[in-house]
Symmetry: D2
Subunit: 380 residues, 4 copies
C-alpha cells in the first residue's frame, strides 16, 4: 500500500494554502524520511507567500524550519558529532543543503555562501523529486547531504527556531564574539526571534550590558528574561533620546558591538551612530532587497574606524550552536513559541506572523493522517 503525506501547498501567491495528499516515494540512497513534529513559520515565509521572494517557484510547500522524527533511512548516517542516527530519533537539521565542492565550501571556509546552496521550503517546488521538500507537511525527505543533529525528548517545537533564526543569530554572533571583552556593551536592534537569540548569545559571551531596541513592548519585555539589561521602545524615545541613553550607559563611548536584527533600513541609519569609535556593526536582519541606505561615510565609518559586517544565512556550525543555546535556556525559549497551529491553519499562522502578534508561530502536523483530502493535481 502506498504511503501518503499531508502537505500544505502554496499554489498561488496571496491565496490560502491548500492541504494536499502526496505519495511518499521510495527513498533513494542516502535519503531520510522524517515525520515532522513541528514546523516554524518564519517572517520570510510571509514574504514568499506574498510573492516577494524571487527564489520561489510554485507550487511550493513552504517551511524551512522544522524538527521531526526519523521514519526511514536509506543507508547509514551519523551526526557531525559522530553519533549514529537511528529510526525513531528526534532530529533537527541544517535547513540549507551545501554542495561541498564550490569555492565557499572548499577554499574560503564560508560554507553558508555555497554557490549551490538550497533550502527546504524555499528553493525546490513540490514538482521536484522527491517532492516532499518543505516543512509545512507531516513528512519531509531529507537530502543525503543534509547535516542532522539529535535532540533530547523535550517538546520539539521549542527547538524549531534553532534551525533558522537561532542559526543565523549564531552566524552573526560569530563576528561579534572576538570583538568583545568581558563586561562589554552590546546593542541589539529588533526583539523578534532573531534578536532574542542574539540576546542569549550576548549573555553567553559575558556582555555586561545588553541593550535591545524595538517597537513591540511585549517582545522587549521578553528580552529581559533572556538577559537584556536595558530595553528601549522606539515608540517612547526619539533616535536622539536613544542615543543619549546609550551614551549614558557607555561612559559616552557608544556600544562595543551593535547587531541589527530588524530588517529595517531605519535601524541601520539610527544604529550606526550608537557604535563606539573602534566598534562593530553587524547586520543580520535582512532577507531580501530593501532599497538604498544613505548615511555620512566619514562620520559613521571612517573617523570611527568601524567594522561593519553583513550576514547571510548560516551553516551547520551555527545550527549546533543554536540547538545548544536552546538546550541551555529551554524554559525561556519555551515561552517564545507563542502560537501553535494545525497544518490546515497554515494561512492563519502566516497572518499571525505578518501582524507581529506571534513571537514565534509553529505548525503541528497531525499524528494521524487526514481521512479525506483533495488529491494534489500535480504529476508526482
Amino acid at each position: 500500500m502506498d504511503r501518503t503525506a499531508i502537505v500544505s501547498v502554496l499554489e498561488e501567491f496571496n491565496k490560502p494554502l491548500q492541504i494536499r495528499e502526496m505519495k511518499i516515494p521510495e527513498l533513494k540512497p542516502g535519503q531520510i524520511l522524517v515525520k515532522i513534529t513541528a514546523a516554524g513559520v518564519c517572517g520570510s515565509d510571509v514574504h514568499m507567500y506574498e510573492g516577494r521572494d524571487p527564489r520561489l517557484a510554485l507550487p511550493m510547500c513552504l517551511g524551512h524550519e522544522g524538527v521531526g522524527q526519523i521514519v526511514e533511512m536509506s543507508g547509514e548516517k551519523q551526526t557531525p558529532l559522530g553519533e549514529k542516527i537511528n529510526e525513531g530519533d528526534m532530529v533537527i537539521w541544517n535547513r540549507g543543503v551545501l554542495c561541498g565542492d564550490c569555492y565557499y565550501c572548499t577554499i574560503s571556509r564560508q560554507p553558508s555562501l555555497c554557490v549551490n546552496r538550497w533550502a527546504y521550503g524555499i528553493h525546490r517546488s513540490v514538482k521536484i523529486p522527491p517532492h516532499l521538500n518543505g516543512c509545512y507537511a507531516d513528512h519531509l525527505i531529507l537530502h543525503e547531504k543534509t547535516d542532522i543533529f539529535l535532540l533530547d525528548d523535550r517538546d520539539s517545537a521549542v527547538y524549531v527556531p534553532a534551525s533558522c533564526s537561532g542559526a543565523t543569530a549564531a552566524h552573526a554572533f560569530e563576528y561579534a564574539r572576538p570583538k568583545l571583552k568581558t563586561g562589554d556593551t552590546v546593542l541589539i536592534q529588533g526583539p523578534g526571534s532573531l534578536g532574542i537569540f542574539l540576546v542569549a548569545y550576548a549573555k553567553a559571551s559575558g556582555a555586561g550590558r545588553i541593550i535591545v531596541t524595538g517597537g513591540t513592548q511585549s517582545r522587549l519585555d521578553m528580552c529581559l528574561e533572556f538577559g537584556a539589561t536595558d530595553i528601549i521602545n522606539r515608540h517612547n524615545h526619539t533616535p536622539e533620546e536613544t542615543k543619549e541613553i546609550v551614551l549614558s550607559i557607555t561612559h559616552g563611548f557608544g556600544v562595543d558591538v551593535a547587531l541589527e536584527a530588524s530588517g529595517s533600513l531605519g535601524a541601520v541609519t539610527d544604529g550606526m551612530p550608537l557604535v563606539r569609535t573602534g566598534g562593530a556593526y553587524i547586520t543580520a536582519g535582512f532577507g531580501e532587497p530593501a532599497g538604498s541606505v544613505e548615511f555620512p561615510w566619514f562620520e559613521n565609518i571612517v573617523r570611527k574606524n568601524v567594522n561593519l559586517q553583513g550576514v547571510w544565512v548560516s551553516d551547520t556550525r551555527h545550527v549546533l550552536e543554536a540547538v545548544r543555546t536552546v538546550q541551555m535556556n529551554y524554559e525561556n525559549f519555551a515561552k517564545i513559541i507563542t502560537h501553535r497551529f494545525s497544518l490546515e491553519e497554515s494561512t492563519e499562522a502566516l497572518e499571525s506572523v505578518a501582524s507581529r502578534e506571534a513571537v514565534k508561530a509553529v505548525l503541528i502536523p497531525p499524528n494521524k493522517k487526514f481521512m479525506s483530502v483533495k488529491a494534489l493535481t500535480l504529476p508526482v
Copy 2:
C-alpha cells in the same frame, strides 16, 4: 607633622615579616597616595618569602594585589574609561607598571610583555623611592603610569583577586574565547583562585561543559558554584580514568580548550592528551621556573594540530575584565575570600596560603595607626 605608614617588611627570607613605620614622602607629580583597604596574599608571595623568586631585592614590602581609597593626588587623573578620579574614591589598579615606549607597548600590542614592566610588591625594594611600593602596608604610592579603575562601595576585599589571578585568567581566556563555539567543552586544571576565575570566564563564554580537575575537594566544590559542570578529584581518579571521563563527556573527541591553572608539570603532561584534535591548550599557572617537561611531540602536538599558548601575567585590559567579572558574580566571589588577617599576621597569612588552607587570604590593614612600632632602619 610627618605622616607615617605602617608597613609589613620582608627583611630576611623565611623569617617573619616585620611591622615597620615609614615616613610618607611628599608626592611627586602624578603620584597618588592610597590607603590600602585590603591586600591579597598570592601563592607567588610564598615563593618570594622563601627566596625562590629572583626578581626580589630585600628589604621588601610584599603585596602586588591590593585595593584601597585615594588619600591624595598630585595632579589630575582619569580612569581608562574616562572617569575623573577623586580623593576618597575606592580604586583598584593594574599591579604592573608599563613603560609605554618599548616594542611590546608600541608595536606588537602585547603590553603585558613590556620589557620594562615592574609590579608593586615584587620588583621595587622599600629602599627605592617612593618606598611605599607594596600592598602589605596601610599606604601605597601609585606611580603616575599606573592604570586605575573605580570600584563600587561593596566590600573591597572581594575585588582583591581581580588585580592578579583574575587579570591573568582574563589574559589566558583572551586566547580561549576565539576558539570556542557556544556549548563547547572547557577543561580547567587547578581549582585555586586562577582556576575559579577561569570557570567564571568559561561560563561567561557560553561553554556547555566546564570540567575542573584538582586535588582539593573543597575548592572543586566551590567551582561548581561558579558554573563548573563536572569536577574530577585526582585523588579519586587515575589520569587514565580522568581521560575516560573526559572522552565520555565529549563524544570521544576530547575538550575543545584546556587551561592549565595549577603550575604543575604533571598537569601539563596529563592535560595535553585530553585536548581534542584541532583544540587548544593554554598554560597560565606557572610563575617561575619549574624544570623540564617531556612528552611525545607528534602525538600531542603535530598529529592533533593543537594550538598551545603560554600566558605571562596580564595587562590593564585584563584587570578591567576581572573587575567586571567580580561585579557580575559578587556573591560567589565573596565566598572565595576565606581568610582575613591583620598586617601583624602577615606571616600567618603566608602560611595559610602555603598550606592551601585558604582559597584566598587577604590582609586588612588597620584603620587607625599603630601607637608604637619599631622604626625601620632604612634611609627613608
Copy 3:
C-alpha cells in the same frame, strides 16, 4: 647666543605661507630637537591651507610628515626596537602623539584611536609651547612621548611618505592581510601615495592580481612598477566596463579585498559591487567629512556577507611597517618623490599637490639659516 629656527607659517587661510624666524627654546626633559631634512606636503595640508579642517588653529606651521637629524636631546631615549638614539642620528617618527592612558591606548589596543592623540603640523599652533610643532620648518621639537625610528643614510626625503600615507596604508592593510590567501586578487582605488603603498603591501602579501583604478595615467603606470598587474583608467572605462574587467580577472567572483584610497564617495559606490561574496572592503582614503553615500544595503552588504572596515590614521606599528617597506623598495619609492621645493616655495608646493601634478612633493629646508627674515609677531 639664541638659536633660531626658520618656519613657514600659515597665518591666514588661502594666503601664501610666511617665512618666519623663531627662537628655539630650551628643551624640557624628554624633548628632542630635530633638524628637518625633508618634510612632506600631504593632500590634507591643502585642505588645511584652504581652511577646511576644523582641527586647525592659526597661526600654524603645517607639516605632519617629516624626517630629520637629531640635534639635541634632553635625556635618553630608545627606539621601540631598543636601539639607543644619539645626537646626529637620522630619524623618522610617529606623527601622532598618544596619551598612553585612555581606553584606546590601554584597553582596546587601538592606539591610533587614542582620544588625546595629536599630530605635528595639525593640532598645535605655533603659539603653543614649544612652538616648533610642524615640519614646514628647519627645526622641530619632538614631544617626549613621540616614538622614533632610526633611518639609514640613504636620501631621507624618500622616507617622508612613510610617516603618513605609508603608515595609514599599513593600518588599512592590517585588516586586509588576515583575509588574503596566496594568489588572491586585491583591488586598490586611487593611485596616489596611499594607493602606491597599498600596492606595495599587496605585493608583499602574496597577492596574485593587484588591480588599480584611478584617473591619472602617470600614477597608474607608476603602480605597475610597484607590482600592480592590472590598471584601469576611469577616463577610459565606464564603471560597468570596469566591473566586467574585474569579473573576467576573477573567474566571475569579484575581488577578495578592495581598498579605497581616493577619498571619493564615487569610488565607494563603484567599488563595493566589485567585491566578491564573502570579501572585504576597506576604506582608508578619507581625511575629512565628504557627505553622504547611498547604496543598496542588501545587495552590497548583506547578501554578499561583506566585511567593511573604516580606517582612521595610524599608529607606531604602522610607521615601522612603512619604513621597512620603503627600505625594501627604495629604488621605486625614490621615483614617487616627484617634486622638491625650498621652504620659501611652500605655497607652490601646496599647489603642486592640489593640482595632482606631484605624486609626492617634499620641502627641503636650508642647511644654512636665512640671513634676514621678518620676525614672527608671537610671544615666543
Copy 4:
C-alpha cells in the same frame, strides 16, 4: 579491448617495487581517469617503503603527489573556482579525500582534520576498488569527492610538490601570516621541499629577514634564490652560535615566527629558544611518531608567552595556494626538481630521496605502455 595501466607496486617492505599491469575498470559515476604525467617521491614514501607507517596495507601503489591529464570523466565536474573540467585538461588535485560530513568538515572548519580523510598512495591498497589508487603509475582514478585544479601548459613535473609539501607549507603559513608584520623576521628549520615552500610564503608575506637553518649546503643555497636572507649550516655552527646569530639579526629579540620543517626533535629544542617573547613556533615537519621531546616549560613557553602550533597535512585551500606559489615562482621551482626517474626506477627514486641527494625527485610514467610486464597476481 580492455585498457590497462602500468603500476609500480610495493608488495613487500624494503623490497624493490614491482612493475605490474592492471586492468583499468569502468568508471563509476563521478570518477575521473587521469594519465599521470609526473608523480612525486616524498620523504614519507621512504618511511612507507620501510614499513614504518601504520597507515599502509600491502600491496600498495605508493605516490600521493601527482599531476596528470584527464583521460575520461564519468559525469561533469568543476574546479572549486567554478571552471568546467574537460577531458584533455592538465590537472592537480588535493591528495586527501574528505568526507564532508564529520565534525571537522562541517562544524570546526578544519577540513584537513577530517576523521575520514584518506590519501591516494597511502591509505588504499591496490586491492581496494577502483585499484588505481596511487600515483606511482601511469594512470590513477580520482574519487568523486576529489577537489581538482587546472594547470597551465608548462612542465607539469614542476607542480608536483604543490600537492604535498607545498600544501602543507601553506597550511603552516596560514598560522604564521596573521602574526607577521611587514619586515618581520621568520626562521625556517630545514631546507627541503617543505622548507623551500615556507621560504616562498615568507617572501610573499613581506618578511624582512628570512633565516633558514639546515645541514645540506646545496639546499640552503637554493633557499637564497627563493628569498632567504640568511642561511645557517648546523655543521658550521653550534646551537649557541646559531642563537647568537639570530639575536644579532633581530636586535636581541629573537625571531617573530619560527617554522619547523625538518621532522627532527633536535630542531624543536634548538628552535624554541630562538623565538622572541610573544612570538610563535609552528611545527610542520613531522609525518609520524618521533619520540618524546624534553624542554623547560616555563622558559620556552610561559615566560615568553609563546604560541605553538602543530600542523597536520593540509586541505584544498592549501593546494590552491601552493599551485599559485609555483605559478608565481615557476623558474625557481623548476630548479628543485633535481631528479627524474622512470616508473621502473621507482626504487632508485626512493633511494635518492632517502639519501637526501635529491631535493625533489619525480617519476615520469611512460607515454606508451610497456610491451610486456608480469601480470599482477591480485583479484582485480
